[in-house]
Amino acid sequence: MSNSIANETINHSKNKEPFSIVRLLTNTYFLNAVSLIAFFLLWDYVARERIFHDSLARPLEVVDQIVRLTQIKYAGTNLWGHIWASTQRIVIGFFLAAIVAVPLGLFMALNKYVNAIVKPLFDLFKPMPPIAWCTIAVLWFGIGETSKVFIIIIGSFVPCLLNAYNGVRLVDPELYDVIRVLGGSRRDEIFHVCFPASFPAVFAGLQISLSVAWTCVLAAELVNSREGMGFLIKRGMDTHKPELVLGGMLLIAAAAWLTSQLVSLLERKLCPWKRTIDNL
């Protein structure tokens, strides 16, 4: 009989309810479809009626533009070249920032003296928007790759460090007691409690960093560049081609979304025990 003890899995099975109009109307997938179709129809309508004159392209024109970009060379390279140019900058800047910022954040939380030295400087730079560095980066490093990567590093550094720092500081103190009671050393505490427990916070920081990094790369490319998705948008702006602007926006959104999914995937691999909220 013991197999029925503490059988709390009942919540996983669902009740089947009969079909009805109300249930269809409140079905999530149905509503999602309605909203997306309405959105694109509205967009198409606004573009067709020229409410913004010639400054809004129809959805199909945007798709057409993107497809054309894969076939022709635009400013020396085709679509994949532009996507890769931006992604490359992100990857380099993001990794450099994460490699320095995360350990520094962890270290700051673990060592009071490091904290006392670094924290005030960090607080000084924290409120400064990374995009504000664009101009001075160009002044320092010229208009090449270095200045763009520099801005990305500046932008992704702050959230990485902050989250790693808070992640360690907000570890439940009782978790340390578990290790201490078992006779663990300070080293054990750090490696078996501190780091794993702060992982979710670190990953949250990486996610924020990534989205900031995309904003930064875009800003840098808008200010000055010869390739990249930001360049496409900028060129669309200069030549007044809304379909190119919208195409660039969609591409960058897709790229940003994909990279953030990659980080989530990594997170699920590295800390599968993390609690999640349903449907978020």
Binding site: L25, T26, N27, T28, F30, L31, N32, S35, L36, F39, F52, S55, L56, K112, Y113, A116, I117, V118, K119, P120, L121, L124, F125, P127, M128, P129, P130, I131, A132, W133, C134, T135, I136, L139, W140, S211, V212, T215, L218, A219, L222, V223, I233, G236, M237, H240, P242, V245, L246, M249, L250, I252, A253, A256, W257, S260, I277, D278, N279, L280
Partner: protein, 264 residues
């Protein structure tokens, strides 16, 4: 059972170090510029920046407006955009958290727009609204609305389900549960959104002004770069940072006052 703050004496070293660190930073900065280690065409010394600040308070050269005008333009844009994003984002997020229909309708569009960095909208807003106030307010609105919606939504979702059941057994209606339980319990998250949205707004404000503006702190930075005056660039950056920090601090204080009952 009140909690008493206990003063813990910390080593003198720890009290002094932060000041040492800040002073050392500025001293080093001043030194590398004064000694010519970094040429003053690339970086301005802190003392020069202070001088420039005082001059810029009344001098409109070389960028066409005084410090006050720039700051006022930026603050105006930021606040309009920020207020609009709160006004629309928070109720929308709260409703998305509780009403399945609202969520079903709004979520796909929201998810579609969310990954687009707000400054990617700049070209379109320039096409649509010109480089005036409206365009920038639009970009700031887009930037601020994302954290508002997400946090209020998550806040409602994290309402303790037992509390909802409790209210249901007393026969509370959906609307009553929403207003009496979900909204109050989402408040801490919503206040988190206030801070977050402000940071986003401020960042994107600078971006918007870098690219399409004729005054404002971001424009000051751009012009400083264009006329090769690093002191103006650094001054602009510091002003942006300081004003952002001040607004953030004010919101923090308000939050502490309002949430006294909810947080321990």
């Amino acid at each position: 059972m009140a909690y008493k703050e206990v003063e813990v004496k910390q080593p003198l070293m720890l009290t002094i170090l932060p000041y040492v660190s800040i002073i050392a930073f500025f001293a080093l900065w001043e030194l590398v510029v004064q000694t010519g280690f970094i040429p003053d065409t690339l970086l301005a010394a802190p003392s020069t920046v202070v001088k420039t600040f005082i001059v810029k308070l009344h001098d409109i050269n070389p960028d066409g407006a005084t410090m006050g005008t720039h700051a006022w333009t930026s603050i105006q844009e930021a606040f309009l955009g920020y207020a609009l994003s709160l006004l629309i984002g928070i109720p929308l997020g709260l409703c998305m958290g509780w009403f399945k229909v609202v969520e079903g309708l709004c979520r796909p569009i929201f998810e579609l727009i969310r990954p687009i960095p707000p400054i990617a909208w700049i070209p379109l807003t320039v096409f649509w609204f010109g480089i005036g106030l409206t365009g920038k307010v639009f970009i700031i609105w887009i930037a601020g609305i994302v954290p508002c919606v997400i946090n209020s939504w998550v806040g409602v979702r994290m309402t303790n389900p037992t509390l909802i059941q409790m209210a249901r057994t007393y026969g509370a209606s959906d609307w009553q549960i929403f207003t009496q339980l979900c909204i109050p319990s989402a408040l801490p998250m919503v206040f988190g959104a206030l801070q977050l949205a402000l940071t986003y707004c401020w960042t994107n404000l600078v971006g918007a002004e870098l690219l399409a503006a004729d005054s404002g702190l971001g424009y000051l930075i751009t012009m400083g770069g264009r006329v090769a005056r690093p002191d103006i660039v650094v001054l602009g950056m510091i002003c942006v940072g300081v004003s952002g920090a001040i607004i953030g601090f004010v919101i923090d204080q308000v939050e502490k006052k309002l949430l006294a009952g909810i947080r321990r």
